[in-house]
Amino acid sequence: MPFVAEVGAATERSVAYVGALAQLFGKSLRVLFVSPLKRSRLAQRTVHQAMAAGVGALPITSLITFFVGVIIALQGAYQLQRLGAMQLVASLVSISITRELGPLITAIVVIGRSGSAFAAEIGTMRVTEELDALETMALDPVAFLVVPKFLAMAVMMPCLAVWSDFMGVLGGCVFGIVSGNFTFGSYVIATRDALVAHDITTGIVKALVFGLVITAVGCQEGFATGAGAEEVGRSTTSAVVISILLVVVIDLVFTVLFYLARGAA
């Protein structure tokens, strides 16, 4: 039965891939604490990465989550109007943005900007022998390239997610005011009443994990690049595709876990 064998082989490859990601993360952690490389230089590179991956993503993330906030409010109003429950728009927007869409959309923007860039950067360095050059200079590529990226993303992803929560809610607020049922003050109060701290922390936890996954996949794909320019393109593509898939799967797992744990919380 070749089909069953193929499914088995594909499953094995997937598990091995996730194992490789975990290994890269584990090695980065180890290197972070025992690295012979200098701390000050590590901090410099981390700041550099954080500026590129985090601060650089602010405008586009803001714009997209703002629009998504408006869209959710519009779509929600369409349904809620029939029930005469327009005042619930604020809570609909705030909960769906903070718990779900804020982190998810941030992750997708960051995959497009940074996950692909990580793969392309490391892939090109593989092709031009720069990775070999680092190794012959006794500079471990993981310590030199990967650790700063993990650190930067672990800090910047939650920050970006919180910022996009804010922008999404702002989008909903603009709709609320324009459609006439809310004033700015009443929308803010309605949002505050709808949200509990837990909504925001689940979003932050998700964003943190997304950030680590995006970095691991981007770097892993970069290192796995074969010879030639074409291979760099292939790595970049698979970094984006695999990251999006993994982010959505992890999102699902987290949402299920949070749902099951809601009684306890």
């Binding site: 200079m137 006794a138 500079l139």
Partner: protein, 269 residues
């Protein structure tokens, strides 16, 4: 760690074998390179000379055999011991392999910044000196992409020299350059040889440059050492493969081509 006394081999290989998958590329090499000499490894395309170079600096793991660099068996060395060795060697890659996101100056400063506690101003001066040595003074702030092929190789030399290495490796220093630039690179290697008493290992297929810079030549042929010895000995060798290589005679017999093809396809089937 105390460095071993000057005489005796700096690099030695015993029964060195390297495989890519099922295909063996180096079939049990034995050689020694002594302190202060310039050894040139020559050989045709696919003879395994680049693999040999990558193995000597620890980028490739041998499938069996032993490689000693400064007395340490690098096939069994720990990552930390390997790093210590790597700080004492410099490798100039064929295409330069300068870090594209850094300027030329930053590339040369990189190992110094990471591995030494020198002050930034001191490092700046050292970078300037290294660049001057390779004839690139004033190019600190250029990005590697702005340099020509020959300049990129010179910048790669400067970076390889940055840590004042005891052993310097060159991968195809004159490949892909016009004859004038290539001659300039040869002169540069001769200058470095005169200025420092460094051990140098050069991999090349340029015969003229090999005879010019070498103290000793190792001729690799399909993963085996066809001949090794002082320049004059190689030049006057009667060995058929050596003569064929030196006299630039193409492989004529069908058998040779088939053998060559078989080397690549062994174990693929």
């Amino acid at each position: 760690m105390a460095t071993p006394a000057a005489p005796g081999p700096v690099i030695s290989a015993r029964d060195l074998r390297v495989q890519y998958g099922d295909r063996e590329v180096l079939h049990g090499l034995n050689f020694e390179i002594v302190h202060g000499e310039t050894a040139v490894v020559i050989g045709g395309s696919g003879s395994g000379k680049s693999t040999l170079l990558r193995t000597l600096v620890g980028l490739e793991r041998p499938s069996s055999g032993e490689v000693r660099v400064k007395g340490l068996d690098i096939t069994k060395a720990s990552a930390r011991a390997m790093d210590d060795i790597r700080k004492k060697i410099g490798l100039a890659f064929q295409g330069g392999a300068l870090i594209g996101s850094l300027s030329v100056g930053e590339n040369i400063a990189l190992p110094l910044l990471e591995h030494t506690t020198l002050k930034p101003t001191t490092i700046e001066v050292m970078v300037r000196i290294k660049l001057e040595q390779v004839g690139l003074s004033g190019f600190e702030s250029y990005s590697p992409a702005q340099l020509s092929g020959g300049m990129r190789k010179r910048a790669a030399f400067a970076r390889a020299l940055a840590m004042d290495p005891e052993i310097l490796f060159f991968d195809e220093p004159s490949a892909g350059l016009d004859p004038i630039t290539a001659a300039g690179i040869d002169d540069l290697i001769l200058d470095l040889k005169k200025a420092y008493s460094m051990t140098m290992v050069v991999v090349t297929h340029e015969l003229a440059s090999a005879f010019l810079i070498a103290d000793r030549i190792i001729l690799l042929d399909r993963g085996n050492i066809a001949a090794a010895g002082p320049v004059e000995e190689i030049r006057n060798s009667r060995h058929p493969r050596v003569r064929q290589f030196l006299d630039r005679v193409a492989d004529t017999t069908q058998d040779d081509d088939v053998d060559h093809l078989r080397m690549y396809t062994e174990g693929i089937r």
